[in-house]
Amino acid sequence: MTDGAANPATSATARTAGTTPLVEMRKINVAFGGVHAVRNVSLDLHAGEVVGLVGGNGAGKSTLTKVLSGAQRSDSGQILINGTAVDIGNPRDAKAQGIECIYQTLALADNLDAPANLFLGRELTTRIGNLDDDQMEDATRKVMGRLNPNFKRFTTPVVSLSGGQRQAVAIARAVYFNAKILIMDEPTAALGPAETAQVRNLVRQLKEDGIGILLISHDIHDVYDLADRVSVMYHGEIVDTVNKHDVSTDDILGMIILGKKPGEVTAKDREELELRA
């Protein structure tokens, strides 16, 4: 990915300034009882861009993405898609905006086959409302043929597929429905090295197609490899959003663990970091 090298941007925002972001989340707040899970978070995502969202457990990453995917309502704040404010109250609203989500826990129904999963909740029907399984299988074969040409098992329940194949089915869903915005929540957490490489290739492919991708991952290397910009969350707030070429993985780690920007880190903090490492 030579993206960063071609555009030697000095600040994370400068590189993309001028164009309307695909997604703008403004001052999002979510509280569960007394716990402020997401506090005044603002985040931009542009077309053809991968933004990595990192942070420790309970930093608010998943909650924030749930707000965008319609699985969680925010208490306050605004979401703009292509500059227009939208109301996303449930997963259907999000899908209508071209937002697709690939979840950590693989939101597949294990008992159903690949076509049924691809069209879950959006089944194709014939004129009289019967399921058109043949058409769904045909479409699935076409999409999967692009993503994973070796895939042949279109009529077996996905429970018997490998992790990589299942992830491919989940991604195929986003591709088929022309996702403009893709949220990937720990897409490689459950995968082996070869399958991880496969998913990374898919992400690059989707990026080249102009899809905006919000990538949540524990794996700093995943993020560093794929993302253009990285947003770090700490205790529900965004510490900073940085261009990945301006910082090292250690800087990012420091932000994740200490919740401070690289410049704010003191000698004492460094000692603590050493200890934790």
């Binding site: 995917s69 699985a71 449930n90 997963p91 259907r92 899908k95 989500c101 979840y103 826990t105 939101a107 597949l108 129904a109 294990d110 008992n111 159903l112 086959d113 049924a116 879950l120 909740g121 959006r122 089944e123 029907t125 409302g129 019967n130 399921l131 043949d134 058409q135 299988e137 045909d138 074969r141 692009r146 993503l147 994973n148 040409p149 070796n150 895939f151 042949k152 098992r153 279109f154 009529t155 077996t156 329940p157 429970v159 018997s160 597929l161 490998s162 990589g164 194949q165 491919a168 082996g192 070869a194 399958e195 490489a197 496969q198 290739n201 898919l202 492919q205």
Partner: protein, 450 residues
């Protein structure tokens, strides 16, 4: 794209590993194909195949113990007795697939059955009159409406108020049974309208020889047409096809089963007394040896066939059925996919309520009235039938034909062992062993094939 293709090799190797259900696999290419390979080529569900075999074994065993049981009349009586629970089992499949349970079906059947009797014995004579030909239709329609309302009530408490289905329907089991007593004044209510009682079968409540053959021909033609049509669309899309001999075998077995069923039902002739009455009433002179009237398929069995077809269609060809299975397989995934999961769950209970009304019609028609204990204990047989038929309590797995076969297995043991002179507690013990053993073997099979 090229490196994507390169890396997929690793994922592709696992293709050999998972050999769960036989669907979608071709026979092993080398050597002489085993029987298992041949069956797999037909893409038939091996569980269903096993259950049909079990059923055959049961009846061969019963026939070996006492050949009299193999007379057509016994098959007809048996099928009519199985009808009430078989109808309910189809609905229980969807309820269990969506990770719920319905313990109230027996009491709901009893309540609606009593409702039918009260309507026909107490209300019809003073309102629309006993001779009104649509009286039975009004009764049935009211019953179905009532059943749907009960189902909606319980389904609402489960899906929207989030009270566990076990608790809600346990309440239903107790409460609706109590309501039957309140409703009837603690007595049996009778009689039903004679036309309504045809729903319970018997010589008059059967299709008759000619209609039975016509229906058999119609069903056979439909089965063959469905097979041809399915093959044609798969070819149109260029999907893998079953071998031709497998298609032919499936067609032959389907048509053979249908026609054999019609043949057996037509082999039973009306009892001489009833035939004579019929001859006198219709001014027919009885031939020597008495008038021979073929009974044909009993109406309750006809209802079971219709319900099976309708429910199979609903589960496999409609969005509702697909959503039920999606919810059962992964409730979170279904929710995130934008499926209105609460409404899906509520609808499974509404459907169950409607099926209770149909089941109640068959059961109360056979009794010619409503009794206080009508439907008592049904819930256990129905749940057992669904589970024997392969429905998994873990959710997401189950088939309608499986449940029907499960109901037939349960009823075969009941009827057959009763016929052989075992008393009811003994029959229950055998049924218990079969239930646990079947599910145990199934679990073992699934673990092994994983």
């Amino acid at each position: 794209m090229t490196d994507v293709a390169g890396t997929t090799d690793v994922a592709g190797t696992t293709d050999v590993a998972g050999t769960t259900d036989g669907a979608g696999k071709l026979p092993a290419p080398e050597g002489r194909p085993s029987i298992g390979d041949l069956i797999r080529a037909t893409e038939i569900d091996l569980r269903l195949f096993g259950m049909v075999l079990a059923l055959v074994v049961i009846w061969v065993g019963l026939g070996w113990a006492n050949p009299v049981i193999l007379q057509p009349v016994n098959f007809l009586t048996f099928s009519v007795q199985a009808a009430s629970t078989a109808v309910l089992a189809t609905g229980m499949v969807l309820v269990i697939v969506s990770r719920n349970i319905d313990l109230s079906v027996g009491s709901v059947v009893g309540l609606i059955g009593m409702g039918y009797a009260v309507f026909m014995a107490d209300i019809v004579p003073t309102t629309i009159g006993l001779s009104n030909p649509v009286g039975w239709i009004i009764a049935l329609a009211l019953g179905v409406l009532f059943g749907a309302l009960i189902g909606a009530f319980q389904g609402f408490l489960i899906a929207y108020a989030e009270i566990p289905s076990f608790v809600v329907t346990l309440g239903g089991l107790l409460g609706f049974r109590g309501l039957i007593w309140q409703f009837s004044g603690g007595t049996t209510v009778a009689p039903n309208l004679p036309t309504f009682n045809l729903l319970g079968g018997g010589p008059e409540g059967s299709l008759g020889g000619i209609w039975a053959w016509l229906l058999g021909a119609l069903l056979s033609a439909a089965a063959v047409l469905l097979l041809i049509n399915a093959r044609r669309t798969r070819r149109k899309y260029g999907f893998p096809l079953r071998p031709m001999w497998a298609e032919a075998a499936i067609a032959a077995v389907s048509v053979g089963t249908i026609l054999a069923g019609v043949f057996v039902s037509n082999s039973y002739h009306w009892p001489p007394g009833l035939a004579t009455q019929y001859a006198v009433a219709h001014g027919i002179t009885e031939p020597p040896g008495g008038l021979q009237i073929e009974a044909g398929i009993p109406i309750p069995l006809l209802i079971v066939i219709a319900v099976t077809i309708a429910m199979t269609f609903l589960t496999t060809r409609r969005r509702f059925g697909r959503n039920v299975f999606a919810y059962g397989g992964n409730p979170v995934a279904a929710e995130l996919a934008g499926i209105n999961t609460r409404w899906v769950v509520m609808r499974t209970f509404i459907l169950m309520g409607i099926l209770c009304a149909i089941s109640a019609a068959i059961a109360s028609a056979r009794l010619n009235g409503g009794t206080l204990d009508l439907g008592q204990g049904y819930e256990l047989y129905v749940i057992a039938a669904a589970v024997i038929g392969g429905t998994s309590f873990a959710g997401g797995i189950g088939t309608i034909p499986g449940a029907i076969l499960g109901a037939l297995v349960m009823q075969s043991l009941q009827y057959g062992l009763g016929f052989l002179g075992f008393n009811s507690p003994q029959v229950n013990m055998v049924a218990a062993v079969v239930l646990v053993a079947v599910v145990g073997i199934d679990q073992w099979n699934r673990r092994r094939s994983r």
